[in-house]
Symmetry: C2
């Protein structure tokens, strides 16, 4: 199986390594670490996969350099207004190529489905803490599990095969025939916790839930996402919010991915995670006052980083 | 006229100096700068009053040390849940003493009126940028004007006399017979801008208005204050929000007083400025979704400062 990982940062390298361990022929397109990865491959440090070196079959700067036919093209870039995902994929997508998105956010598939209507489109949510160290160095901290399904619904033989490869490498990969509902479910946590975590320096999960009034506000925002999901035809389990709050409290305090991006001055997926959720809710006529407020403030904070003279 | 300034920080020293210049016998109660002020008085640096030394008639650590009868007791402390304003005033308030509050916030008078029902209560809003330098040093940067009236309404001869003293020292002091409406009016700006300014590091006024969506959110929050004011019987002028936005844009970008408090780790008047506004609106049945969101997030940020191990 020929697999090409496009925009292979830490996430792409991790899942690429998991597939390569099961014999898939995994190549990568990576720009920033190109020289180091071309020379030495990736230095994977992972409690799940074990520490090891992952040498891709081929390393490219751009997908256009890749002449081999690919069975699956995996896109692991961030979902940002400035990143043209269709252009990243285009050169590598052939007649029978399946596309797998391992990306955050809501409503991120439609643009790709419209650009490649004849190709199988798989969509996956990653629950993982992984980061980059020195060039080519990938530090996997925890979790790593995936939820994967065909977009807009169903499961395909290729999805099953990919899931089997991941599972064989100890990466939990749960197949779903309703990946859109799975994205809504993840948005219930992400849409409030991620942007609120960048307000006030950085707030960790314990700080966001420190007092009953804080939790009440977070719950209100989560409920808005549930209402929006239901209004869009994706009713979520009734105990979801309770379970997510309990689950968050059960873990040690941690910083969201957006908080880490904020701290390190990296672009934040505000539109994919929060903006898309607010828009989907409003299109369906759902009032989203808490999330709209969080969205407005998050955009001010994002805008500040681009302004000259900001403290 | 015997005047005692209680909790004389930079604000109290500035207005005390203005009154003393017109011959009022001004004493002060100050704790943190006591030794320096007792010895040398205040070193006032002010484009309005001129740079000069203000030597109070007497300097006390606590109001209880003051044996002289006072015509007016001026309270210039912050309005914070941890500060017992009645206890600060009590020892200095005699039978004929008028109380003047020069403090921020909404609904800050009632507690004082109930504790001293027989005394004349004056309430004043200060529009001033003034800070402390070394002990006893007061740096007045800009503005300084006051709005002053009797609580809950009206103007008294003593209010007129105080206003005349201030004006004689070039400190603009506008008398109002409806100081509660004046407080609502100030809350229209303060309740949104102050707490939003502490989100995302610190946001200055230009950053909070950088994009039309930002302004739209700020306007929504301001409108909620206007609605709450009207529902509480204090209808505000229809062009108020437009004028405040235009006025804010016309000034160079600046940091709110809450942003300065936040940066310097000082307590913030979140309850007096924002909490009281939200509560007054909700009591009157006004929906305050934007302000409630801002309030919830501001409390998380405030709470973070008190938690151990916060980054």
């Amino acid at each position: 199986m020929n697999i090409l990982i496009i925009s292979a940062g830490a996430v792409g390298a991790f899942y690429g390594a998991a597939l390569a361990r099961q014999g898939a022929r995994v190549s990568v397109v990576c720009r920033s670490d190109y020289a180091a990865v071309k020379r030495d491959g990736y230095d994977i440090k992972s409690p799940l996969l074990g520490d090891h070196r992952f040498r891709p079959h081929a390393v490219y700067r751009e997908a256009a350099e890749c002449a081999e036919r690919q069975d699956v093209v995996v896109l692991t870039s961030k979902v940002l207004p400035g990143i043209d995902r269709v252009a990243l994929l285009r050169p590598a997508v052939g007649q029978d190529t399946a596309i797998l998105l391992i990306q955050n956010g809501l409503d991120i598939e439609q643009e790709i489905a419209e650009a490649f209507p004849a190709n199988e489109l798989l969509s996956s949510l990653a629950f993982i803490a992984v980061g980059r160290g020195a060039p080519g160095e990938v530090n996997h901290q925890s979790n790593g599990s995936l939820i994967l399904g065909r977009y807009p619904s169903g499961v395909t033989p290729r999805a099953e095969r990919l899931a089997a490869l991941f599972e064989a490498s100890k990466v939990s990969c749960k197949l779903t025939d309703d990946v859109v509902t799975a994205r809504w479910q993840k948005a219930v946590w992400n849409a409030p916790f991620n942007p609120i975590s960048i307000m006030g320096g950085v707030l960790d999960t314990a700080q966001m839930l420190a007092r009953p009034e804080h939790e009440a506000f977070i719950r209100k925002a989560m409920q808005e996402v549930c209402d929006a999901a239901a209004a869009n035809g994706h009713a979520l389990p009734p105990k979801l919010i309770d379970n997510m709050i309990a689950g968050t409290r059960a873990m040690p305090a941690y910083k969201t991915s957006m908080a880490l991006d904020y701290e390190q001055g990296r672009p934040m997926e505000i539109e994919a995670i929060l903006g898309a959720t607010v828009r989907a809710g409003k299109r369906a006529g759902v009032a989203m006052p808490a999330l709209e407020s969080v969205y407005a403030i998050a955009k001010m904070i994002e805008g500040k980083k681009r302004m000259p003279d900001s403290g």
